[in-house]
């Protein structure tokens, strides 16, 4: 028997993430933050039964996106590991990237014979994009393999796989209609960028030929719809040589979420992903079903992340009372989680953690660099004097102020998977 086989895993982690939770005082909420103002008995009880703190996801005063914020919370990744939007969207659509792949976000679009863009979303096409994508998937251009997959509505992802590629190429999406496609240019003087731009441009021409002649587009034209006869690209990103954290440290993890971005980051970190059409990313999401799926996933996974989106939307929309409502629904989700865990005896000792991927203050309507409140709660967690889960109370907790990657490493240490340094 090896040391690994002898090892008995006794703790499990459920990490709940409220997107964009952190905020600032709102005049309409008596100068409180939405989290201070909301009635959150279950979140507060979790805070009471553990260690609290505040977390700077990347570093103090630096806003992070949902994608990078989740790369930190789920995988402890660094900024140098951030691959850009293209690769994360590709993972979100289930395309597994390899180091060196260049991925781009795409639209199906309608162009004339001179590549003049008539509609950037091909008449907001929703049906048949899978069939069109399959007509492009598997092409090979100058030794570069083309992976192409449809995404939601008119969107798709393109992956270039081969030697000597670069993501230092320009977007081909002109962003406005009645302009020609901006054929890709190298953004630096490297031969890799020049080669990648050349391959991409050949692909765009081939795609126009293939899609223009596709039976589905003939049907669309016959029905008076715009043909989805071209591809626009943006957000090229090259997949760095990063390891899936679950493989690196030998544990199992799952992520329950609605957002393809979050699901993409979860796949990149080696998590199994779980979603449902009732998870809307808004106030009407089915939090009871979400809680059930997350607790169910604890059976076969050491670490389960449970993502909740509505808090972020309310911040972006500057709706403090809506954010209060979203937080109270999040509190209900955690109540369900606790009830479901209490009804199970087969899960071992479940540690519940609360976090957020960034702050989205209502007044700012965008992500900010304000730290987020966090909790690690459980019978074997040091219990501090904090009685309430909010941005201010948690700052006085036993975790003090931490970096996001340190918070993630702290959670993993309860799984006993992090190697000891020294002897």
């Amino acid at each position: 028997m090896t040391g690994k086989e002898l090892f008995i895993m006794k703790n499990k982690i459920l990490l709940a993430i409220a997107d964009g939770l952190g905020d600032r005082p709102c005049p309409s909420l008596d100068g409180k933050t939405p989290l201070q103002y909301a009635n959150t008995p279950h979140l507060d009880r979790l805070a009471e039964k553990g260690s609290c703190g505040i977390v700077d996801l990347y570093r103090a005063g630096v806003p992070v996106g949902t994608d990078f914020g989740h790369m930190i919370l789920l995988g402890g990744y660094d900024l140098k590991d951030y691959p850009g939007r293209g690769p994360i969207e590709a993972f979100g659509e289930g395309v597994e990237l390899l180091p060196g792949d260049v991925a781009l976000r795409c639209n199906f679009a309608s162009v004339d014979g001179d590549f003049l863009v008539k509609d950037r979303r091909a008449g907001r096409i929703r049906e048949g994009t899978g069939e069109l994508a399959r007509a492009l998937n598997g092409l090979e251009i100058d030794g570069v393999q083309i992976l192409f997959k449809e995404a939601t509505e008119h969107r798709a992802v393109l992956v270039l796989r081969g030697e000597g590629l670069s993501d230092r190429i320009s977007d081909t999406d002109p962003k406005v209609e009645d302009h020609r496609i901006n054929f890709a240019r190298a953004l630096d003087g490297s031969k890799e960028a020049a080669f990648t731009a050349e391959v991409l441009n050949q692909f765009l021409i081939r795609a126009h030929e293939i899609l223009g002649g596709h039976a589905l587009n003939q049907k669309r034209l016959a029905a008076g719809q715009l043909a989805a006869n071209a591809i626009l690209t943006r957000g090229a990103g090259k997949m760095p040589a990063i390891q899936k954290v679950t493989e690196a440290l030998h544990y199992t993890a799952a992520c329950v979420a609605a957002e393809s971005t979050v699901l993409g980051v979860a796949r990149l970190a080696g998590f199994d992903v779980m979603t449902d059409s009732s998870f809307t990313g808004n106030l009407d999401t089915d939090v009871e079903k979400k809680a059930g799926m997350a607790v169910g996933a604890l059976k076969d996974h050491d670490f389960v992340a449970l993502h909740y989106k509505a808090t972020d939307l309310m911040g972006h929309d500057n709706r403090p009372s809506g954010k209060v409502q979203a937080i109270e629904k999040y509190d209900h989700m955690l109540a369900c989680v606790e009830q479901l865990i209490a009804a199970r005896e087969d899960l071992g000792n479940v540690i519940i953690a609360l976090a957020a991927d960034h702050s989205t203050p209502c007044e700012r309507r965008e992500h900010s660099g304000d730290p987020v409140p966090v909790v690690i709660s459980g019978v074997n967690i040091r219990r501090d004097a904090v009685l309430k889960y909010d941005e201010i109370s948690c700052a006085a907790g036993a975790l003090c102020r931490m970096k996001g990657a340190d918070f993630q490493a702290t959670l993993l240490d309860y799984l006993e998977v992090s190697p000891k340094q020294g002897n």
Copy 2:
């Protein structure tokens, strides 16, 4: 007059280190940590009279070993400075390594003529190993100088000193009996590793010849004992080019401890080491003698580290009440320290600091990445509101949460030895 002569040292530091002190709530202690549960009036008074905080030795959530934890607390060293077990054991036995030396931990063993291991500990030999070691010490093989020194019981340390050596070689100890010695192999493709393995293997053959013919072994055989006629090696480590912190920053330091690992790290950092046979590393250690030796060392040293081991043992054995008892004895040791200092007028202003090299939670029975509580106490130390020395109370102190190397640098700053950056 030089700048050094002009310099007047006004503070001295006594740093008490309770090994593995940090813990988690224990069900048998009413959900408190052993340190929260224990009656520690003297530790609490030290906390009251200074600044408290929590320390991540290396980084949050990452467990460290006793050796690396002490390299941080005593010398502020980084992971890249960590030389591995062999060199630290060599320092522990008083062998001063030079950068580039490769050190290995050894057993005296009994083998047959074909290097088949009959007993990995040579019948648990305890007498005469010094004489056997001297027969091997000073050999030279292919230009590499051999240093060999006995350690406790059947153990010894081997140092290879010369150009072009590597620690990327395999252990020769087969770990089980009735197997042949695993002659060393290179663990990478470098010529240095191949050369080092070759030198080591020649040494093992020479050692077998020399020990086999040694008069002491003839006597052992005649007395019906196993001959200590071979050497097994493990844990090769190459000494990095690190400077002794006391030499780099021009101060004097001493370490009072029982553990050879701690004493080894102390020597590596340039500390004088002080020990006594009454220091057992367990509950029966003579804490009053330890306190006396440490306070005595303050006369001629700017910085004195006083190590206490029993807390760690109790964590490894999952004995919460034993850990409480160990902590209360540690509290008594600090009471003695304070009394002895108060009775002296020749020591200057002594600042007393409390720390730990890592947490060893009882429930985990191993080191964890939980932060440890620290105190810096004295009349000229900022006084916060913390009244009790424990993992939770200290987190609310004026030091907040720090890295171990930052804590060590903070202590050194009271010695006024750290150069000012900028002007």
